[in-house]
């Protein structure tokens, strides 16, 4: 029940995105705001880079002993009264959640934002089983009523402008008076809040994701800026946490370390507004909280990643810094990537989840500028991992034929320097002669990918190596 992917049509998606004026304005906002915000808070913290090293090490350590920590988590969470479920596949995770909802005769289900829920296609599955889950994160709610995927892993509706959201609210909220002024963002928020408040109070089951699962205490942790996660988790009589296996950290202290890099990397906040640690269901003397607490831990291909070349990707804490700093993301936005996870982290993760045959464009659509790796709070070598995917494609002969043939021809000469020198010298002379008038080409056969958008500077004439040898130098 996972989402239909348009990743194979990445190029067409990108083309459409580039000429969408509203989207471009929204992306301009990301590009001109978030990198600066991150830099500001990072500069305020002299130990920020040391914290990133610590964050990487905590994650690496946890991944090395993941089985141990998962078992510990299960034991501790169970001891606190939570029910822990392990799901190997996305389908299994969805089924477990739907069964819990069914057992409790859930009529209203609220949901906090969960990327793994997007990954498993949980909403679609629940709807197909007769439930009507309601997203409670504002951005996630907006994309739910638009029947879209999130375009960013922490700001799901960042591709939209205010007027588009107003139009959606007027379309969906049937009781919204026509004359109500929704010009101000606060008015939009109030409108969403009024609608969602009723759902919070009516909900039988609340489903959230988790930023961390803590082995030491059996707790699930979520951070939000809206507090919707807390209302989703504490008001209904059943709270279900959906989280993937790599969300585990050993201790509360480890979580505290990771928290110090999470919000700073994500939104440029020192901390998110709400951080909540959920441990077990309501105890007899608790004033509130769910009667039942379920934690569904999803593998969905991650164990295979753990044993292979993409293991580093499992350190990801889903902060979105790599998206916020990616010039390709800034150009085309998240939907162009065609599935749940966009940007550099998506370019590595998506092929693992839906296959490189479908997601082949994603790791290729990068200049390897390295900005993502430079800002990653857990130091994932994203370009290196994208290159691994390119190697897989090359080995499996999935890359385009023209590209492969060109590469082969070039490699033939590049591996034979003398032949290369003899072959390139006259070619450059010819090109230089044709280009001598302008010093550049506006059009050149076989180079239209280049000359479609820019001129191609002409060569000067004799190659360096020819001139060097003419001067009799070694």
């Amino acid at each position: 029940m996972t989402h239909h992917t348009t990743s194979p049509r990445f190029k067409d998606n990108a083309k459409a995105a580039l000429v969408d004026p509203e989207l471009q304005k929204a992306l301009h906002f990301v590009e001109t705001n978030f990198p600066q915000r991150r830099r500001n808070v990072a500069d305020m913290l002299p130990e920020f880079d040391a914290l990133r090293d610590a964050a990487r090490d905590i994650k690496n350590h946890t991944l090395s002993f993941l089985d141990l920590y998962l078992e510990t988590f299960e034991t501790r969470a169970t001891a606190r009264g939570s029910q822990v479920h392990f799901a190997v596949t996305a389908e299994e995770a969805n089924r477990i959640v739907a069964d819990i909802c069914r057992t409790h005769g859930a009529k209203t289900i609220t949901k906090g934002k969960s990327m793994v829920g997007e990954e498993t296609g949980l909403n679609a599955f629940l709807e197909a089983n007769g439930f009507a889950p309601v997203e409670t994160d504002l951005g996630e709610y907006i994309i739910q009523i638009r029947h879209e995927l999130p375009s960013h892993i922490i700001m799901p509706a960042v591709h939209l402008r205010k007027a588009q959201i107003e139009a959606d609210f007027r379309r969906v909220h049937k009781d919204l008076p026509k004359e109500r002024n929704l010009d101000e963002p606060a008015a939009l928020l109030a409108e969403a809040r009024a609608t969602l408040r009723a759902k919070f109070l009516a909900a039988d089951v609340g489903i959230t994701g988790a930023n961390f699962l803590i082995a030491e205490t059996g707790s699930a942790v979520i951070v939000t800026n809206e507090g919707n996660g807390d209302l989703t988790a504490t008001l209904p009589k059943v709270h279900i946490v959906l989280a993937s296996i790599e969300k585990i950290v050993p201790s509360l202290e480890d979580m505290a370390q990771l928290m110090r890099v999470l919000a700073r990397s994500a939104t440029g906040q020192e901390m998110s507004v709400y951080t909540t640690i959920f441990t077990g269901p309501r105890r007899p003397d608790d004033p509130d909280g769910p009667v039942e607490h379920h934690i569904v831990i999803v593998d969905n291909g991650r164990t295979a990643m753990l044993a292979g070349k993409f293991r580093d990707m499992l350190r990801c804490i889903r902060c979105g810094a790599c998206l916020n700093h990616c010039p390709v993301y800034h150009a085309v936005g998240g939907h162009a990537y065609g599935w749940v996870y966009p940007g550099p982290m998506g370019a590595v993760l998506t092929p693992s989840l839906i296959g490189i045959d479908k997601a082949g464009h994603l790791p290729n659509a990068s200049t390897f500028c390295g900005r993502c790796e430079e800002v990653c709070p857990v130091r994932i070598p994203l370009p290196r991992l994208m290159r691994f995917w390119r190697e897989r494609e090359f080995e499996r002969r999935l890359s385009p034929t023209v590209q492969r043939t060109g590469l082969k021809l070039w490699a033939f000469f590049a591996k034979r320097p003398r032949l290369y020198r003899l072959a390139t010298a006259p070619a450059m002379q010819v090109l230089a002669w044709f280009g001598r008038k302008q010093g550049r080409f506006r059009f050149l056969p076989l180079a239209t990918g280049w000359t479609k958008h820019r001129d191609l500077p002409a060569p000067q004439g004799k190659t360096f190596q020819e001139q060097w040898r003419e001067r009799g130098r070694p």
Binding site: L407, P417, R440, R442, G449, H453
Partner: protein, 266 residues
């Protein structure tokens, strides 16, 4: 002199070799002026196009050939952060775990430098006698910046060029959209990126754009020319060496420009 007698192998880089040899000669002049003995072993390319296209076997074969041709030198220097980065960062990665090649690749990587980094960081060059009357701006190429850690070196040397004013380029650390084969595999996205870059370059008011990587410079120069902007684009080595006799990147020679101009405008 700091570099006296040091044997430097010039990794010309394929783009400089084929498109703009004057950058190579400017690099030679800078190195020789600092006392180095420069040699140019027969070469083709560092192998990066193969490496980034997923063809590891070819990348490795080319890397072996480069190491064999250059490793007798004291240092290997490239007028490009991209090619120097390929050697410094990725050659060791290519031979990871190979008992014969890994030590050679590691040693080779450790003595390979981007030109500015070598001049300032290794040779301790602090200035140049070059002159340039005008305002220039500088674009940091991604590999220079992030793989080689070059940021202050070119600015320091440019600061010593008499008559030159260096203007800050906003987003100088953002990719120009070249990305090797990326620019032809995803021309529309590359175009969006270089369009922003060209606008930022023009907004500085400088009359010349400088950089340390010919790929990026060709990309930006090509865009500036297509948009009808008249900024000169050059490799930083050309200015530092005072070798400005060749027309800027993508510009015609003066003689050709004169003869191409219509009668009336003469």
């Amino acid at each position: 002199m700091a570099g006296s007698g040091k044997r430097v192998g010039l990794l010309v880089t394929c783009l400089v070799d084929l498109i703009r040899p004057s950058i190579g000669f400017a690099a030679v002049k800078l190195l020789e002026r600092a006392g180095c003995v420069v040699e140019v072993p027969q070469q083709s390319c560092c192998g990066q196009p193969a490496f980034n296209s997923g063809d590891r076997a070819t990348a490795r074969a080319i890397a072996e050939q480069v190491i064999a041709a250059f490793e007798h030198c004291d240092y290997i220097v490239a007028p490009s952060g991209s090619c120097a980065g390929q050697v410094r960062v990725h050659y060791p990665e290519l031979f990871e775990g190979d008992p014969n090649w890994q030590p050679r690749a590691d040693a080779f990587a450790a003595k390979t430098y981007e030109l500015m980094q070598f001049l300032v960081g290794v040779l301790g060059v602090t200035g140049t006698e070059a002159r340039y009357e005008g305002a220039a701006t500088y674009h940091d190429s991604c590999s220079s910046l992030r793989e080689c850690g070059v940021r202050e070196e070119p600015r320091k040397l440019l600061g010593s060029v008499e008559g030159l004013t260096l203007k800050d380029l906003s987003d100088s650390e953002t990719c120009c959209g070249f990305g090797g084969t990326f620019c032809v595999k995803y021309p529309d996205i590359s175009n969006a990126m270089v369009t922003k870059k060209a606008a930022n370059v023009a907004a500085t008011g400088a009359d010349m754009l400088l950089g340390g990587d010919l790929g990026c410079l060709m990309n930006i120069a090509g865009k500036l020319a297509r948009e009808g902007r008249t900024l000169a684009v050059r490799h930083v080595a050309e200015v530092l060496a005072g070798q400005l006799d060749q027309p800027p990147i993508g510009a015609p020679t003066e003689r050709e420009a004169r003869s191409a101009a219509p009668e009336a405008s003469r």
